[in-house]
Amino acid sequence: MFRGLLRSPGFILGVGLFALTLVAALLLPLLMPLNVEQRVGLAYTPPSREHWLGTDHLGIDMWSLLVHGLRSSLYVGLLAGTVATLVGTLIGVYGGYKGGLLDDILTVATNLFLVIPTLIVLILLSSSLDEGRSLTLIALLIGLTTWTWSARAVRAQSSSLRHRDHVALARINGYGTFHIVVLHILPYLASYIFMVFILQTASGILTEASISMLGLGPYDSVSLGTILNEAIRNEALGDGAWWAFLPATMLVTVIAFSLYIVNTAMESVFNPRLR
């Protein structure tokens, strides 16, 4: 199975691209001085030798902003993705395996929140949280509002596993729910849950960027979304200051693209009927 993944060009490309952004986000701040507080020039200075991507509307070095933004966006995405996958998996696996009244209640709740648009809930939440909007809080909120479709997907998988022989055998042998779920259901869902995690991470990054572009971003950090928000609000587009928005746009696109093709490649390897 893993050999199949390694032979898929989409998977290699996607993992490679994402790893590249991750390494850049982790190592660049250690390797070079980055400064997002101090003005180093006039507003919208074009790229130069000292400032590879010029300056933003305040005269702050754009390259530093971009690296910081990349870090925050990856952090938000991974945290939101983890929370959403955890909550979704817990609800989905438990409901799907146990069935009964609790499953019915969980399914109703899932379907209900699936229909109510997430971004709208996030807009309402963020705008009422005026002062306390930290990056971590935003990531948690995104995770806690986007778990619904992973719960639904995981539930469908786990309820189909419920009637398999090895699960029935484990039950006859008197093992408890926890034991069965961890040892006999989760291993079968591992690749599936990993795919869900990848998609949730991508959607976390995009959702944060969307809220930040609407001006509801974190007050305590620079993210790719807040860079774009500032650029658009301060006429970078009209002034032709491409360095203020194109690199951030490209970066978001590359991250989203890499995660999507990893997911697509995994899907076609794990689900041979789709090939």
Partner: protein, 378 residues
Amino acid sequence: MTTGSQEQPGAVVLAPEARSSRLLDSHPVLAHILGRAGWYLITFMVAVTINFVLPRLGDSSPVDVIMARAGANLDAATAREQEATYLKEFGLVQLDQQGDIRRDAAGKPVPTSLPVQFARYLMLSAQGDLGTSILQYPRRVSEIIAGALPWTLALQLPTIVFGWLVGNTLGALAAYFRGVFDRVIYPAALLTSAIPAFCLGILLVYVFGIQLEWLPAVGGYDEGILPSFSYAFLASASHYYLLPFVSIFVIIVGHQAIGMRSMCIYELGTDYVRYAKLLGMQERKIVRYMFRNAMLPQLTGLALALGGMVGGALVAEMIFSYPGLGMAILTAIQGNDYPVITGCTLLVTVCVLCANFGVDLLIGLLDPRVRSGRAASR
């Protein structure tokens, strides 16, 4: 469902519930519609409650926000009078018989409880009264929305529906013919579906609007013209329409093409298609059966995508400064204009729910399992 009347054939008078369940049993589509309607009613109530509760979670009341802005240049008496007007307007305080604010011994207004505020909110919303804007006081929220909604609808409805149709056609073609079709369509769809809507929007504005100057970059129509049904206005508006349309359209096409392609490939490998082929059934007939089956999940996908699409398109509107709901929300967010924010979010939620309901009904009409009453309700 077995009813008492079936066990006792001699019984002349049917209990009302027995009669109605008989009616539903013989009309599965009606049962489906009623079931879905009930479900959406519950969802709607939850959505309205969320819309009411979430903005009130924060500790700043809208009146404090206005007074912080406006109160600075006012003397104490005028400020107090204005605060009273706002408190009454937002239904935050109890009123006595004369319509004056009830105050406690210390002279502070007596606040109304949340349930009372909620009841008032429900009653007013049902009448279409969404309150008054803070930022553009005394403009009504419903007025602001009425100005913005046509733009959003005109942009999104055709884009989503048209994009859905084109995307599904391309996906089906790629799956059916494979070969060159697939090798061009699939990677292209993969690429466009992975681009976030707002990134594509920024790129389009920059390349076509600002660098090449082929199309106007931002706005909904030329500044010199007032919105009307004149030829000049429509020509100008359609000119501005193109870029936002393309930015949303391309992405929907990509998403739908990928979904439809994998559905069709899956259906092509199923036993019933192989069996039909072995029987020597006409290719055209097989394709018809197959597409019908592949279509149903795509319809559900359309319903679910609407929720996300609305969000993405709101951000796209902001990039193009398109005068729709997205822009209204953005302006309201920047000015802490709570009534406008909640009014817009309520409306968007209602629209998304209605669209979902519509698609659900359509599925009920198209899905033979629902029509014959053998579907497990989803």
